[in-house]
Protein backbone atom coordinates (compact mmCIF):
# COMPACT_ATOMS: atom_id res chain seq x y z
CA UNK A 1 0.00 0.00 0.00
CA UNK A 2 2.71 2.39 1.01
CA UNK A 3 4.81 1.32 -1.95
CA UNK A 4 1.92 1.95 -4.30
CA UNK A 5 1.43 5.42 -2.98
CA UNK A 6 5.14 6.06 -3.19
CA UNK A 7 5.48 4.98 -6.77
CA UNK A 8 2.45 6.83 -7.93
CA UNK A 9 3.63 10.07 -6.42
CA UNK A 10 7.15 9.43 -7.63
CA UNK A 11 5.89 9.31 -11.19
CA UNK A 12 4.92 12.92 -10.70
CA UNK A 13 8.52 13.74 -9.94
CA UNK A 14 9.31 13.62 -13.64
CA UNK A 15 6.76 16.32 -14.29
CA UNK A 16 8.03 18.41 -11.41
CA UNK A 17 11.56 18.09 -12.71
CA UNK A 18 10.51 19.14 -16.19
CA UNK A 19 8.86 22.22 -14.81
CA UNK A 20 12.03 23.05 -12.93
CA UNK A 21 14.22 22.20 -15.91
CA UNK A 22 12.39 24.83 -17.93
CA UNK A 23 11.90 27.47 -15.28
CA UNK A 24 15.47 27.48 -14.00
CA UNK A 25 17.49 28.19 -17.16
CA UNK A 26 14.89 30.56 -18.62
CA UNK A 27 14.77 32.46 -15.35
CA UNK A 28 18.56 32.55 -15.22
CA UNK A 29 19.04 33.95 -18.69
CA UNK A 30 16.27 36.46 -18.20
CA UNK A 31 17.60 37.41 -14.78
CA UNK A 32 21.17 37.96 -15.95
CA UNK A 33 20.10 39.98 -18.97
CA UNK A 34 17.81 42.13 -16.90
CA UNK A 35 20.48 42.67 -14.28
CA UNK A 36 22.81 43.95 -17.00
CA UNK A 37 20.09 46.32 -18.13
CA UNK A 38 19.60 47.39 -14.54
CA UNK A 39 23.28 48.14 -13.95
CA UNK A 40 24.48 49.29 -17.35
CA UNK A 41 21.36 50.43 -19.15
CA UNK A 42 20.59 54.14 -19.31
CA UNK A 43 18.33 55.81 -16.78
CA UNK A 44 15.16 54.78 -18.59
CA UNK A 45 15.85 51.11 -19.02
CA UNK A 46 17.45 50.74 -15.65
CA UNK A 47 14.34 52.27 -14.12
CA UNK A 48 12.08 49.93 -16.05
CA UNK A 49 14.08 46.97 -14.83
CA UNK A 50 13.73 48.25 -11.29
CA UNK A 51 9.96 48.47 -11.67
CA UNK A 52 9.89 44.96 -13.10
CA UNK A 53 11.84 43.64 -10.14
CA UNK A 54 9.59 45.45 -7.65
CA UNK A 55 6.47 44.00 -9.23
CA UNK A 56 7.77 40.46 -9.45
CA UNK A 57 8.97 40.54 -5.87
CA UNK A 58 6.07 42.43 -4.37
CA UNK A 59 3.24 40.18 -5.50
CA UNK A 60 2.63 36.67 -4.17
CA UNK A 61 3.88 34.02 -6.56
CA UNK A 62 0.52 32.29 -6.78
CA UNK A 63 -1.14 35.50 -7.91
CA UNK A 64 1.53 36.15 -10.53
CA UNK A 65 1.34 32.55 -11.61
CA UNK A 66 -2.36 32.81 -12.24
CA UNK A 67 -2.13 36.09 -14.10
CA UNK A 68 0.74 34.96 -16.28
CA UNK A 69 -0.86 31.58 -16.85
CA UNK A 70 -4.13 33.04 -18.06
CA UNK A 71 -2.31 35.54 -20.25
CA UNK A 72 0.01 32.91 -21.72
CA UNK A 73 -2.58 30.18 -22.10
CA UNK A 74 -5.00 32.66 -23.59
CA UNK A 75 -2.74 34.23 -26.16
CA UNK A 76 -0.25 31.52 -27.11
CA UNK A 77 -2.19 28.39 -26.17
CA UNK A 78 0.49 26.68 -24.17
CA UNK A 79 -0.07 23.57 -22.11
CA UNK A 80 -0.52 24.16 -18.38
CA UNK A 81 2.88 22.65 -17.76
CA UNK A 82 4.69 24.96 -20.15
CA UNK A 83 2.68 27.99 -19.18
CA UNK A 84 3.32 27.23 -15.53
CA UNK A 85 7.03 26.72 -16.07
CA UNK A 86 7.43 29.89 -18.10
CA UNK A 87 5.44 31.84 -15.52
CA UNK A 88 7.72 30.56 -12.77
CA UNK A 89 10.70 31.58 -14.87
CA UNK A 90 9.35 35.09 -15.24
CA UNK A 91 8.66 35.38 -11.52
CA UNK A 92 12.10 34.06 -10.65
CA UNK A 93 13.79 36.45 -13.05
CA UNK A 94 12.64 39.32 -10.85
CA UNK A 95 14.59 37.87 -7.94
CA UNK A 96 17.54 36.79 -10.03
CA UNK A 97 17.76 40.31 -11.41
CA UNK A 98 18.43 41.54 -7.89
CA UNK A 99 20.85 38.74 -7.09
CA UNK A 100 23.03 39.41 -10.10
CA UNK A 101 22.72 43.14 -9.70
CA UNK A 102 24.16 42.82 -6.22
CA UNK A 103 26.91 40.57 -7.48
CA UNK A 104 27.86 42.90 -10.32
CA UNK A 105 27.93 45.89 -8.04
CA UNK A 106 30.05 44.11 -5.49
CA UNK A 107 32.62 43.44 -8.19
CA UNK A 108 32.94 47.19 -8.39
CA UNK A 109 33.26 49.92 -10.95
CA UNK A 110 37.04 49.71 -10.90
CA UNK A 111 37.05 46.45 -12.83
CA UNK A 112 35.00 48.05 -15.60
CA UNK A 113 37.32 51.05 -15.66
CA UNK A 114 40.42 48.87 -15.91
CA UNK A 115 38.85 46.86 -18.73
CA UNK A 116 37.97 49.98 -20.66
CA UNK A 117 41.45 51.38 -20.10
CA UNK A 118 42.69 48.40 -22.08
CA UNK A 119 40.44 49.45 -24.93
CA UNK A 120 37.64 46.95 -24.38
CA UNK A 121 34.16 47.98 -25.37
CA UNK A 122 31.55 47.90 -22.62
CA UNK A 123 30.15 44.69 -24.07
CA UNK A 124 33.49 42.94 -24.10
CA UNK A 125 34.22 44.14 -20.60
CA UNK A 126 30.90 42.75 -19.39
CA UNK A 127 31.47 39.45 -21.12
CA UNK A 128 35.10 38.78 -20.21
CA UNK A 129 35.64 40.69 -16.99
CA UNK A 130 32.43 41.48 -15.14
CA UNK A 131 30.23 38.42 -15.71
CA UNK A 132 32.89 35.76 -15.01
CA UNK A 133 33.37 37.32 -11.61
CA UNK A 134 29.75 38.21 -10.89
CA UNK A 135 28.41 34.78 -11.71
CA UNK A 136 30.82 33.14 -9.31
CA UNK A 137 30.12 35.61 -6.54
CA UNK A 138 26.38 35.13 -6.99
CA UNK A 139 26.37 31.37 -6.46
CA UNK A 140 25.41 31.34 -2.75
CA UNK A 141 22.45 33.68 -3.24
CA UNK A 142 21.51 31.95 -6.44
CA UNK A 143 21.50 28.66 -4.60
CA UNK A 144 18.72 30.07 -2.40
CA UNK A 145 16.76 31.04 -5.47
CA UNK A 146 17.12 27.55 -6.95
CA UNK A 147 15.61 26.15 -3.76
CA UNK A 148 12.82 28.69 -4.15
CA UNK A 149 12.06 27.56 -7.69
CA UNK A 150 12.00 23.92 -6.65
CA UNK A 151 9.52 24.72 -3.90
CA UNK A 152 7.46 27.05 -6.10
CA UNK A 153 7.01 24.26 -8.61
CA UNK A 154 4.46 22.89 -6.17
CA UNK A 155 2.29 25.89 -6.99
CA UNK A 156 1.54 24.62 -10.47
CA UNK A 157 -0.64 22.16 -8.60
CA UNK A 158 -3.24 24.88 -8.80
CA UNK A 159 -3.03 24.79 -12.57
CA UNK A 160 -3.87 21.11 -12.65
CA UNK A 161 -0.44 19.97 -13.72
CA UNK A 162 0.02 16.33 -12.61
CA UNK A 163 3.17 16.94 -10.62
CA UNK A 164 4.13 15.59 -7.22
CA UNK A 165 1.61 17.47 -5.11
CA UNK A 166 -1.28 16.82 -7.45
CA UNK A 167 -0.49 13.13 -7.41
CA UNK A 168 -0.21 13.16 -3.67
CA UNK A 169 -3.64 14.67 -3.45
CA UNK A 170 -5.05 12.02 -5.74
CA UNK A 171 -3.50 9.34 -3.58
CA UNK A 172 -4.77 10.97 -0.46
CA UNK A 173 -8.30 11.01 -1.84
CA UNK A 174 -8.28 7.47 -3.19
CA UNK A 175 -6.49 5.71 -0.36
CA UNK A 176 -7.64 7.78 2.61
CA UNK A 177 -4.03 8.04 3.73
CA UNK A 178 -3.44 11.77 3.50
CA UNK A 179 -0.64 11.90 6.01
CA UNK A 180 1.44 9.34 4.19
CA UNK A 181 0.66 10.80 0.80
CA UNK A 182 1.51 14.38 1.67
CA UNK A 183 4.36 13.24 3.86
CA UNK A 184 5.94 11.50 0.91
CA UNK A 185 5.47 14.60 -1.20
CA UNK A 186 7.23 16.65 1.46
CA UNK A 187 10.13 14.22 1.60
CA UNK A 188 10.51 14.27 -2.18
CA UNK A 189 10.72 18.04 -2.25
CA UNK A 190 13.16 17.99 0.61
CA UNK A 191 15.41 15.57 -1.23
CA UNK A 192 15.34 17.80 -4.29
CA UNK A 193 16.25 20.99 -2.44
CA UNK A 194 18.90 19.15 -0.46
CA UNK A 195 20.58 17.70 -3.53
CA UNK A 196 20.41 21.00 -5.36
CA UNK A 197 22.05 22.70 -2.41
CA UNK A 198 24.83 20.16 -2.31
CA UNK A 199 25.45 20.38 -6.04
CA UNK A 200 25.69 24.14 -5.90
CA UNK A 201 28.05 24.01 -2.95
CA UNK A 202 30.29 21.82 -5.06
CA UNK A 203 30.02 24.24 -7.94
CA UNK A 204 31.00 27.08 -5.68
CA UNK A 205 34.08 25.29 -4.43
CA UNK A 206 35.13 24.30 -7.90
CA UNK A 207 34.85 27.75 -9.42
CA UNK A 208 36.07 29.80 -6.50
CA UNK A 209 38.39 32.71 -7.24
CA UNK A 210 41.32 32.54 -4.81
CA UNK A 211 41.38 35.26 -2.18
CA UNK A 212 38.77 37.42 -3.84
CA UNK A 213 38.46 40.87 -2.33
CA UNK A 214 35.20 42.64 -2.91
CA UNK A 215 34.17 46.26 -2.70
CA UNK A 216 31.34 46.80 -0.26
Amino acid sequence: MFINILFYILSGAGITLSVIAIALPVGLVLGVLLSLVRVYGGKLFSGLAAVYSTIMRGIPHVVLLFILFFVLAGTINLSPLLAGAVSLAIISSGYQLEIFRGAIQSIGGGQMMAARALGMTKLKAIRYIILPQALRVAIPSWSNEVASIIKDSSLVYALGVPEILRRAQFMSASTYQPFIAYGIAAVLYFIMTFLAGRLLDKLETKTKIPCLQLEK
Binding site: G110, M113, A114, A117, G119, Y128, P132, I209, P210, C211
Partner: protein, 253 residues
Protein backbone atom coordinates in the same frame (compact mmCIF):
# COMPACT_ATOMS: atom_id res chain seq x y z
CA UNK B 1 63.46 67.24 -33.06
CA UNK B 2 61.21 65.48 -30.62
CA UNK B 3 57.61 65.47 -31.72
CA UNK B 4 54.74 65.86 -29.31
CA UNK B 5 52.75 62.72 -28.72
CA UNK B 6 50.13 64.45 -26.65
CA UNK B 7 48.98 68.03 -26.90
CA UNK B 8 46.32 69.36 -24.60
CA UNK B 9 44.75 72.77 -25.09
CA UNK B 10 42.21 74.63 -22.95
CA UNK B 11 40.94 71.52 -21.22
CA UNK B 12 37.89 72.04 -19.02
CA UNK B 13 35.92 69.57 -16.94
CA UNK B 14 32.99 70.20 -14.62
CA UNK B 15 31.92 67.67 -12.01
CA UNK B 16 28.84 68.12 -9.89
CA UNK B 17 28.73 71.84 -10.40
CA UNK B 18 32.40 72.38 -9.64
CA UNK B 19 34.96 73.24 -12.28
CA UNK B 20 37.56 70.57 -11.60
CA UNK B 21 39.77 71.40 -14.55
CA UNK B 22 39.75 75.07 -15.43
CA UNK B 23 42.08 75.55 -18.34
CA UNK B 24 44.76 72.96 -18.72
CA UNK B 25 47.40 73.01 -21.40
CA UNK B 26 50.13 70.41 -21.67
CA UNK B 27 52.52 69.03 -24.22
CA UNK B 28 54.14 65.63 -23.89
CA UNK B 29 56.95 64.74 -26.25
CA UNK B 30 58.01 61.28 -27.28
CA UNK B 31 60.13 59.64 -24.64
CA UNK B 32 59.24 62.23 -21.99
CA UNK B 33 58.50 61.35 -18.43
CA UNK B 34 56.09 63.96 -17.16
CA UNK B 35 55.30 63.96 -13.46
CA UNK B 36 52.21 65.76 -12.26
CA UNK B 37 52.19 66.81 -8.63
CA UNK B 38 49.83 68.76 -6.46
CA UNK B 39 47.52 68.59 -3.47
CA UNK B 40 44.90 65.84 -3.40
CA UNK B 41 41.53 66.45 -4.91
CA UNK B 42 42.71 69.10 -7.33
CA UNK B 43 41.90 67.22 -10.49
CA UNK B 44 45.14 65.44 -11.25
CA UNK B 45 43.47 62.04 -11.56
CA UNK B 46 40.59 63.54 -13.49
CA UNK B 47 43.06 65.05 -15.92
CA UNK B 48 44.76 61.73 -16.43
CA UNK B 49 41.46 60.04 -17.12
CA UNK B 50 40.60 62.73 -19.64
CA UNK B 51 43.74 61.91 -21.57
CA UNK B 52 42.50 58.41 -22.36
CA UNK B 53 38.88 59.50 -22.51
CA UNK B 54 37.77 57.44 -19.53
CA UNK B 55 36.39 60.76 -18.43
CA UNK B 56 35.10 62.90 -21.25
CA UNK B 57 36.21 66.55 -21.14
CA UNK B 58 33.61 69.28 -21.38
CA UNK B 59 35.64 71.48 -23.67
CA UNK B 60 39.15 71.87 -25.01
CA UNK B 61 41.31 69.77 -27.28
CA UNK B 62 43.28 66.61 -26.77
CA UNK B 63 45.60 65.62 -29.61
CA UNK B 64 47.21 62.20 -29.73
CA UNK B 65 49.79 61.68 -32.45
CA UNK B 66 48.30 64.54 -34.39
CA UNK B 67 44.72 63.30 -34.15
CA UNK B 68 42.01 65.13 -32.24
CA UNK B 69 40.68 62.39 -29.99
CA UNK B 70 37.89 64.17 -28.20
CA UNK B 71 36.08 64.99 -31.41
CA UNK B 72 32.60 63.56 -31.90
CA UNK B 73 32.57 60.33 -33.87
CA UNK B 74 35.96 59.15 -32.67
CA UNK B 75 36.06 55.52 -31.57
CA UNK B 76 37.00 55.91 -27.92
CA UNK B 77 37.73 52.23 -27.37
CA UNK B 78 40.24 52.32 -30.18
CA UNK B 79 41.89 55.41 -28.74
CA UNK B 80 42.33 53.69 -25.39
CA UNK B 81 44.35 50.94 -26.98
CA UNK B 82 47.10 53.49 -27.55
CA UNK B 83 47.31 54.32 -23.88
CA UNK B 84 48.31 52.15 -20.99
CA UNK B 85 46.95 52.95 -17.57
CA UNK B 86 48.11 51.90 -14.14
CA UNK B 87 45.75 52.59 -11.24
CA UNK B 88 46.22 53.35 -7.58
CA UNK B 89 44.03 50.34 -6.68
CA UNK B 90 45.81 48.05 -9.16
CA UNK B 91 42.44 46.89 -10.53
CA UNK B 92 43.72 43.54 -11.71
CA UNK B 93 41.03 41.18 -12.95
CA UNK B 94 40.38 38.94 -9.97
CA UNK B 95 39.25 35.89 -11.87
CA UNK B 96 42.38 35.68 -14.03
CA UNK B 97 45.91 34.67 -13.15
CA UNK B 98 48.75 37.15 -13.57
CA UNK B 99 49.41 35.69 -17.00
CA UNK B 100 45.72 35.80 -17.81
CA UNK B 101 45.52 39.45 -16.84
CA UNK B 102 48.33 40.39 -19.19
CA UNK B 103 47.01 38.22 -22.01
CA UNK B 104 43.40 39.28 -22.04
CA UNK B 105 43.93 42.65 -23.69
CA UNK B 106 45.91 40.89 -26.41
CA UNK B 107 43.40 38.15 -27.08
CA UNK B 108 40.11 39.97 -26.63
CA UNK B 109 40.96 43.47 -27.77
CA UNK B 110 43.76 43.03 -30.26
CA UNK B 111 42.53 39.65 -31.42
CA UNK B 112 45.87 37.84 -31.26
CA UNK B 113 45.87 34.07 -31.03
CA UNK B 114 46.65 32.32 -27.75
CA UNK B 115 50.28 31.47 -28.56
CA UNK B 116 51.30 34.89 -29.74
CA UNK B 117 49.51 36.51 -26.85
CA UNK B 118 51.19 34.22 -24.35
CA UNK B 119 54.65 34.95 -25.75
CA UNK B 120 54.12 38.67 -25.58
CA UNK B 121 52.61 38.44 -22.11
CA UNK B 122 55.53 36.38 -20.80
CA UNK B 123 57.94 38.91 -22.27
CA UNK B 124 56.32 41.79 -20.43
CA UNK B 125 56.01 39.84 -17.20
CA UNK B 126 59.74 39.15 -17.39
CA UNK B 127 60.24 42.82 -18.11
CA UNK B 128 58.71 43.70 -14.73
CA UNK B 129 60.24 40.76 -12.90
CA UNK B 130 57.07 38.75 -12.33
CA UNK B 131 57.87 35.70 -14.44
CA UNK B 132 57.78 33.40 -11.41
CA UNK B 133 54.23 34.34 -10.49
CA UNK B 134 52.38 33.86 -13.73
CA UNK B 135 49.91 31.28 -12.41
CA UNK B 136 48.99 33.13 -9.28
CA UNK B 137 45.79 35.04 -8.81
CA UNK B 138 45.70 38.70 -7.75
CA UNK B 139 44.39 37.69 -4.34
CA UNK B 140 47.59 35.75 -3.78
CA UNK B 141 49.98 38.56 -4.64
CA UNK B 142 51.36 41.38 -2.55
CA UNK B 143 50.57 44.99 -3.46
CA UNK B 144 53.89 45.58 -5.14
CA UNK B 145 53.55 42.38 -7.14
CA UNK B 146 50.03 43.30 -8.19
CA UNK B 147 51.13 46.68 -9.40
CA UNK B 148 53.98 45.21 -11.41
CA UNK B 149 51.55 42.83 -13.09
CA UNK B 150 49.34 45.84 -13.79
CA UNK B 151 52.28 47.55 -15.45
CA UNK B 152 52.96 44.44 -17.53
CA UNK B 153 49.31 44.40 -18.53
CA UNK B 154 49.57 47.97 -19.76
CA UNK B 155 52.90 47.35 -21.52
CA UNK B 156 51.62 44.32 -23.38
CA UNK B 157 49.36 46.55 -25.44
CA UNK B 158 52.40 48.42 -26.82
CA UNK B 159 50.98 51.78 -25.82
CA UNK B 160 52.27 55.12 -27.07
CA UNK B 161 51.97 56.54 -23.57
CA UNK B 162 51.53 54.99 -20.15
CA UNK B 163 49.46 56.88 -17.61
CA UNK B 164 50.24 56.25 -13.96
CA UNK B 165 47.59 57.35 -11.45
CA UNK B 166 49.30 57.44 -8.05
CA UNK B 167 50.68 53.95 -8.59
CA UNK B 168 52.35 53.69 -5.20
CA UNK B 169 49.86 55.48 -2.95
CA UNK B 170 48.13 52.27 -1.87
CA UNK B 171 51.32 50.37 -1.18
CA UNK B 172 53.09 49.58 2.06
CA UNK B 173 56.30 51.64 2.26
CA UNK B 174 58.56 48.62 1.77
CA UNK B 175 56.85 47.71 -1.47
CA UNK B 176 57.00 51.14 -3.07
CA UNK B 177 60.60 50.63 -4.12
CA UNK B 178 59.95 47.64 -6.37
CA UNK B 179 57.31 49.51 -8.33
CA UNK B 180 59.30 52.73 -8.66
CA UNK B 181 62.21 50.60 -9.81
CA UNK B 182 60.18 49.25 -12.70
CA UNK B 183 58.93 52.72 -13.56
CA UNK B 184 62.45 54.09 -13.55
CA UNK B 185 63.54 51.30 -15.86
CA UNK B 186 60.75 52.08 -18.30
CA UNK B 187 61.63 55.76 -18.30
CA UNK B 188 65.25 54.98 -19.07
CA UNK B 189 64.15 52.73 -21.91
CA UNK B 190 62.44 55.68 -23.48
CA UNK B 191 58.79 54.96 -22.64
CA UNK B 192 56.59 58.03 -22.76
CA UNK B 193 55.00 58.35 -19.33
CA UNK B 194 52.65 60.70 -17.54
CA UNK B 195 52.66 60.08 -13.80
CA UNK B 196 50.59 61.52 -11.02
CA UNK B 197 52.50 60.82 -7.84
CA UNK B 198 53.68 62.13 -4.49
CA UNK B 199 57.04 60.41 -4.79
CA UNK B 200 59.35 63.41 -4.95
CA UNK B 201 62.49 61.33 -5.13
CA UNK B 202 61.21 59.68 -8.27
CA UNK B 203 60.22 63.06 -9.68
CA UNK B 204 63.59 64.56 -9.06
CA UNK B 205 65.56 61.64 -10.45
CA UNK B 206 63.51 60.49 -13.37
CA UNK B 207 61.19 63.23 -14.59
CA UNK B 208 61.96 65.22 -17.69
CA UNK B 209 59.32 67.67 -16.67
CA UNK B 210 57.37 68.33 -13.50
CA UNK B 211 53.94 69.90 -13.66
CA UNK B 212 52.49 71.42 -10.52
CA UNK B 213 48.69 71.45 -10.62
CA UNK B 214 46.44 73.04 -8.08
CA UNK B 215 42.87 74.25 -8.15
CA UNK B 216 42.32 72.92 -11.64
CA UNK B 217 45.10 74.92 -13.30
CA UNK B 218 48.76 74.39 -14.00
CA UNK B 219 50.55 76.59 -11.49
CA UNK B 220 53.99 76.01 -12.89
CA UNK B 221 55.97 73.51 -14.89
CA UNK B 222 59.61 72.94 -15.69
CA UNK B 223 62.44 70.47 -15.41
CA UNK B 224 63.27 69.10 -11.96
CA UNK B 225 66.20 71.42 -11.47
CA UNK B 226 64.11 74.50 -12.18
CA UNK B 227 61.13 73.33 -10.15
CA UNK B 228 63.02 72.27 -7.07
CA UNK B 229 65.72 74.89 -6.92
CA UNK B 230 64.51 77.87 -8.92
CA UNK B 231 60.75 77.84 -8.87
CA UNK B 232 59.15 80.98 -10.21
CA UNK B 233 55.98 80.78 -8.12
CA UNK B 234 56.07 80.93 -4.34
CA UNK B 235 53.36 78.30 -4.00
CA UNK B 236 55.44 75.84 -5.99
CA UNK B 237 58.33 76.26 -3.62
CA UNK B 238 56.09 75.79 -0.58
CA UNK B 239 54.47 72.66 -1.89
CA UNK B 240 57.59 70.96 -3.19
CA UNK B 241 59.60 71.42 -0.10
CA UNK B 242 56.83 70.51 2.31
CA UNK B 243 56.25 67.28 0.45
CA UNK B 244 59.95 66.60 0.16
CA UNK B 245 60.27 66.88 3.94
CA UNK B 246 57.53 64.32 4.45
CA UNK B 247 58.94 61.86 1.97
CA UNK B 248 62.60 62.37 2.79
CA UNK B 249 62.43 59.52 5.24
CA UNK B 250 61.22 57.03 2.63
CA UNK B 251 63.98 58.22 0.30
CA UNK B 252 66.61 57.38 2.84
CA UNK B 253 65.42 53.78 2.65
Amino acid sequence: MTKPIIEVKNLKKVYGGREILKNIALTVNEGDTVVIIGPSGTGKSTFLRCLNLLTYPDSGEIWLDGKLINAPGVNQDEVRQHYGMVFQDFLLFNHLTALGNVMIGLTKVKGLNQETAKEKAMKELRHVGMQDHIDQYPGQLSGGQKQRVAIARALAMDPRVILFDEPTSALDPELIGEVLGVMKKLALEGMTMVCVTHEMGFAREVADRIVFMEGGVVVEEGNPNEMFYHPKVQRTKEFLWKITELYASSEKK
